[in-house]
């Protein structure tokens, strides 16, 4: 008998009707002979409703009380899902994070799970019950309610799967798996049957927002096989797992892109130690997140320093950078807010030379100028002009035969 942890997000449980549908899916898995633990999020819209209430009584609500408030969202869902499971003839019992001792640190609003006591859940499963656990929440050692922050329900599911040594952790969402690239852009984008944790991490952080990064890291750390599936359609989804040596590796698993980037370059920076810090320190203090950072070798004791930020932060970053320029005595600032980042991801890259040159050649053949390049072990990212995004993605998708490879 397999133990499966299933997680359903806010959209999947967005109405009583959808909750009843989820109950049917869960019941089906149970009847196929599995033990099932279900993790659920708050019904979509509920968290915003609660945030609005808080905003009406306080302009700077305490994080502890915010956790008390927001954790009610998942608590409502676990109760409703159990009722729906009972209605479908199943045995089911609900637990809040605290009730099954999902022990976290005490960093309210972004707590991290330290330990889970699976005893209660195991005993319910053995008694033939489906166990429904509130995602996104836990309690600290003093019994205070904590929440795990964005994507926390995915993390809860993976952590429970690890603690219970589940066969699989299934993340039900509104897409039916992980694709070679965005199907809205490339019509023959293909759903991947499997992908490694590392590839998924690179794809997720690059904008293919199917799964939260933290939950993938967690799954990777505890070797929990993770499967992304659709709440609304049948299908096998995409299995995210460790690299399988016996499997023929595809060179490239997917193409990710970030549309909302802007780049800033400080030209003629003195080529001295500590300069990078003096540039990025003020940017960080202004709460601007930096994505790519590139600095080439210097010439004539000066160098150019380039980084990318979210497009919304472009104007503010420019202002901060102007002060930095004056302090450092840099020559000038250049910027462009009409750029995109495009990345090839694949563990196969490690053992195959020439991926990068094929990529650059493909783009050149299409007349696309590459503005910046950055690479990691399993990823190559380039920054190009916004207007070439679709052309570039389609050309690369075709060159690397992503529509054909059976992963």
């Amino acid at each position: 008998m397999a133990l499966i942890v299933q997680k359903y997000g806010g959209t999947s449980v967005g109405s009583p009707e959808r909750i009843s549908k989820v109950a049917e899916k869960v019941a089906k898995s149970y009847r196929e002979g599995n033990q099932i633990v279900v993790v659920v999020s708050a019904m979509s819209g509920e968290t915003n409703r609660l945030l609005n209430l808080a905003a009406e009584v306080s302009d700077r609500p305490s994080l502890r009380e915010m956790d008390v408030l927001l954790s009610t969202g998942e608590q409502v869902t676990i109760a409703l899902l159990c009722m729906a499971l009972h209605q479908a003839g199943m045995k089911a019992i609900s637990y809040t994070g605290g009730q099954v001792h999902i022990l976290t640190d005490n960093v309210h609003s972004k707590a991290r799970i330290k330990n889970i006591d699976g005893k209660k859940i195991r005993s319910d499963l053995e008694a033939g019950s489906i166990v429904v656990v509130a995602g996104f929440q836990g309690m600290d050692e003093s019994g205070n309610i904590t929440t795990l922050g964005r994507g926390g329900s995915d993390t809860t599911a993976v952590a429970l799967a690890a603690a219970l040594k589940a066969s699989e952790c299934q993340i039900y969402t509104d897409v039916d798996g992980v694709y070679t690239t965005d199907p809205r852009m490339v019509s023959d984008a293909r759903r991947l049957k499997t992908i490694t944790y590392e590839e998924m991490l690179e794809l997720a952080s690059l904008g293919a927002k199917v799964l939260q990064i933290r939950s993938v890291e967690f799954a990777s750390k505890f070797k929990v096989p993770l499967r992304v599936l659709s709440s609304f359609e049948e299908g096998e989804g995409t299995l995210i797992t460790s690299e399988d040596k016996n499997m023929e590796q595809a060179l490239i698993s997917g193409i990710a892109f970030n549309k909302d980037e802007a780049k800033l370059t400080l030209v003629g920076v003195p080529d001295q130690p500590g300069v990078a810090h003096r540039i990025l320190g003020p940017i960080g203090r202004a709460n601007i997140e930096v994505d790519m950072i590139i600095q080439n070798v210097g010439v004539d004791n000066t160098t150019d320093f380039t980084f990318t930020v979210h497009r919304n932060d472009y104007v503010q970053a420019m202002e901060v950078l102007e002060n930095v320029r004056q302090e450092l005595g840099a020559a000038s600032i250049a910027g462009d807010e009409k750029i995109v980042k495009l990345s090839l991801v694949g563990v196969g890259m490690r053992s195959h030379a020439g991926i990068a040159s094929t990529m650059f050649e493909t783009l050149a053949n299409e007349g696309i100028n590459i503005r910046m390049i950055s690479t990691s072990e399993i990823k190559i990212s380039v920054v190009i002009d916004e207007k070439y995004l679709e052309l570039g993605v389609r050309a690369l998708h075709s060159t690397f035969e992503l529509d054909q490879i059976s992963a």
Copy 2:
């Protein structure tokens, strides 16, 4: 420094704006030098919203899961009230019932409090914090969430006051105290300054629904001084406390009435042991609650058996009674659904003869026929025709000078 437990009901915390107003009231009490524990209900409307969600997924929701669902209502309020208190510059911390170990039995939806561990609350109070506790809820010995049923937040407040040995338990509501009778009916009805637990119990159970009976019983048992006040106006409200021997007792504290009664009489019942049970057994099994029960001495080996029920149950009760009549061989059934019950309540009755005869005389002078009479130590109830209700209440209010006595 006095320790005061304050309870605010659903209407008092019915919107973010009202929650902010409650925060101001609480802050004022704190600044007057008191330690404050606040107990709150769910925002008005919230419980119904949750019940409607449950009804959409299940036609017979499990009571355990209903408790998980409904208890979120108060949890939302405690968080919002703490945020509002912080906004008002106060130190405040929220707790669910489970977090402060309000231990109950495991009867979901109408659990009873067995014990409260006041340690955590006391330590917060000593640290200068206002403590906000979710009403209506607790947990059983296995850590399951339970709710206390109707009026449960009042009970929570009184139980906390008892456990913490509070100086006073203040129940804030939408009326400014307990009146000699309904002010909507008798314009010179007067707010009572004090009233005994026993009188309040009789008044509450007779329809003056200011406080839930269970909370008054609880307060009486643990000698917790209970005060009813308005959330929206200033004023001292009504103090409910033990009988004070030194105080001059008013003969009568108040006049209560139940408008929605109906009476049923089984005529010519064999006057034998066990008959009352054979009549009321089927009524009870049909989930019909019986209020007054009257059986006079028998004549010729038969007697008449009369009881009153809520008017909504009249038709069903009649049907049940017809079966009983046939079984028992009783002569006939009589019924009347246009009756009301009117009751005089006062601990002073105990030591003063003649209250009853004054009452009956007053009603007779107004031409009001008394259909049934029932008495307890501090109460006389009569059933009269519905159309005489206002006339009867006003006449008695005047005869017993309830508009004048300073209680």
